[in-house]
Subunit: 415 residues, 2 copies
């Protein structure tokens, strides 16, 4: 992709850009001389601007050709913006209540204009740290995952549609490579990028590098990540990619989207809820022992999987005579067989999800990018304790994932 015509925007040039772009200006009620711009990008990669006029608003996200938090020394194609815009539109189409609408996309400039997810929405991870319950979270996330994963899989698509889409998203390879490195490789070897709560976790990090069974398992998961084109996955579905209020759940930031294993999305979300759970003891104070909240997190994990199971299999039921070419109705219409098919598919998916959940947890404790859930625990000893328990659980989960048949069994290991 050429750099011609590309320039990194700042507040001033963004103002000009918006003025010159009707699809953006119209969202501000065309009040092009009366809007405020605020840069809010807290992510590692991109710039995000909130733009508000008296009669409207828009969010502008620009990708730059390197990793923002590292600098130009770590180049990263700005074409990720194209895949983010494409995935956002597809996911909005499939789950409109839980994905912001895209108003504008400029491939040359790597600029996405989308709905401003207004306050009181906050990033879910921050809510989890603050101890806020979101009663519809499980339901909404189950709906988002069921819709986006089911409708982009061979359970719904024809082979022709599927292979066309797979081919297109192969183009997002640089982002896939980044995941391969930071999730499936770096935590299992010595790497300049790794860090952890040292010296407390030094031997834990070393133990991971020496754990043969764990490394066998993570190799299998990595292969699935690289080779299994099961559905259009979000690719970065942690609790920092979800914005919430009491009533609303919005999924953003699918720049890592590609055709991969469904369990990677489900695992990312569940794994990050587990991280939130293990961090709770570090957030206890005189006013709140977090016990109730820990129970709520565990219930949310349970409900997310169980509701996902229900929604996904009922989409499958609804479309069992649809265009999907994986399980032809004529072959699988016998009631008992149909039920066995679904059970087997969902159990495999469950085991994938648990494996990826574990991989996502481990990498957040001994890899390059950590999570605020733990980072916000000031006392290093306390933090290391929380992290160690999360790590032990994750290791066990990755190795024993095939022994679990229900999410209740997984949760009971923790509680």
């Amino acid at each position: 992709m050429t750099m011609e015509g590309f320039r990194v925007l700042d507040e001033k040039t963004l103002r000009e850009y918006i003025k010159a772009t009707p699809s953006l200006a119209s969202k501000l009620g065309n009040e092009v001389d009366n809007f405020k711009i605020k840069e809010v990008g807290d992510g590692n990669l991109n710039f995000v601007y909130i733009v508000i006029s008296p009669s409207g608003s828009v969010v502008i996200k620009q990708s730059i050709p390197y990793v923002r938090c590292i600098g130009e020394s770590w180049p990263m194609t700005k074409e990720r913006s194209y895949f983010e815009a494409t995935a956002l539109k597809r996911q909005h189409g499939l789950s409109p209540k839980h994905v912001p609408e895209v108003y504008h996309f400029d491939r040359t400039m790597s600029v996405i204009g989308m709905r401003y997810i207004e306050p009181p929405h906050i990033i879910l991870r921050k809510g989890l740290i603050a101890g806020v319950e979101y009663p519809s979270l499980a339901e909404h996330m189950a709906e988002f995952m069921a819709n986006t994963l089911f409708y982009t899989s061979l359970l719904y698509l024809t082979t022709t549609q599927h292979k066309t889409a797979v081919a297109e998203f192969c183009g997002n390879v640089e982002l896939c490579r980044l995941t391969e490195q930071v999730v499936f490789s770096d935590p299992y070897k010595i790497s300049e990028f790794n860090h952890w709560t040292s010296p407390f976790l030094d031997s834990d990090a070393e133990a991971i590098r020496n754990d043969k069974i764990l490394k066998l398992e993570v190799a299998e998961l990595k292969s699935k990540f690289c080779e299994k084109t099961q559905a259009l996955i979000h690719g970065d579905l942690h609790t920092g990619s979800v914005m919430v209020t009491h009533e609303s759940t919005q999924v953003i930031d699918p720049e890592f989207a590609f055709y991969g294993p469904m369990g990677f999305d489900i695992g990312a979300f569940l794994g990050n809820l587990f991280l939130a759970y293990f961090a709770q003891d570090g957030h206890v104070d005189n006013t709140n022992d977090r016990k109730t909240y820990k129970t709520w997190i565990m219930d949310t994990i349970t409900d997310t999987w169980n509701l996902f199971y229900k929604k996904f299999t009922s989409l499958w039921d609804i479309h069992k005579e649809g265009p999907g070419e994986a399980y032809l109705h004529e072959i699988y219409k016998d009631m008992e067989l149909w039920s066995l098919v679904k059970q087997k598919y969902m159990l495999d998916l469950f085991h994938d999800s648990l494996g990826f959940a574990a991989a996502k947890m481990i990498r957040r404790i001994v890899g390059v990018a950590h999570v605020e859930d733990f980072e916000s625990i000031g006392d290093a000893v306390k933090r290391a304790d929380c992290e160690r328990r999360a790590l032990e659980f994750a290791k066990n989960l990755m190795k024993k994932r095939r022994n679990f048949n229900t999410i209740a069994e997984v949760v009971s290991v923790v509680q």
Copy 2:
């Protein structure tokens, strides 16, 4: 793909075409007024011409925009020729002794010019029916499969190379769909295309359509076929795609090539050897009880897998610090772990191969396209007996494949 400039060649127009094409004429020593053309296509899909002058030879293969043996009522993109040419060149590069060289490719005309695999080469399937032993067959096929599969997998390629190639071969979707239909779907349902040795196998065919466990297993295999982009596979590696002499083994006809599960190729070859085995009792006559030959086939099956295992893992050893991104040396260098990694990978591949072998066997007995091994048994009762035994073995193999640890165990089930 446009049809502009495309026309179906016949002997007369092919003659003009060769005259006008230096890369072909030169292979005939430029004796463009003195060569013979013979159409030999015995396949289901395409036209193949042998062209011989006093000082050279060439084979011309042309794809037409429908299935040759059915006619224009079953359209099939002639673009398969592009994927065949691309795969042939790649496979020739990786296994030059066992793949004919491509001299010429014309995408508009869907014409491939390649080395003439001269007599006494014959199609392996015909040799197997005639009861001819090929002492190097296992070794050669193991080499072909090890080289073509290893070097196109993530064990050797970077993610970037792999995803680029995956995307390109997604274009061969029509041929993938055909396989999905005739291998993984039609045999398990009532289909106008299915046939079998009736009435003798009527209840056997029905039993397959009613076998829930079998249908669960074939669904898993079908998903792997559609979703697992493990390597550039030949896609149609039966014994009709191999030409042999006592000393030479040549693999042709990779028009079904795409990034799929390695086990599909290995299984196609092994499965067709098993078919040849089960057909032998139908070829017994006064002069030959075929007992020795049956043993040779079983030994060839055993050797093929064991030599493949050896060659594939030693390529992996040689390139363990190479560009492949799946198993980074730094993570897996511990000797015991390295050995575990290979064992696990190869056992999974073994189970895939057995599953696909079984699927390929079943479809040749109750599906649309049968094999000469059985078709050439004139006595229908005898033929049905052979086919039934093959079918029972295949069903058992598909269901129990995960219980086998070595090829010797599989072979001992038969003998």
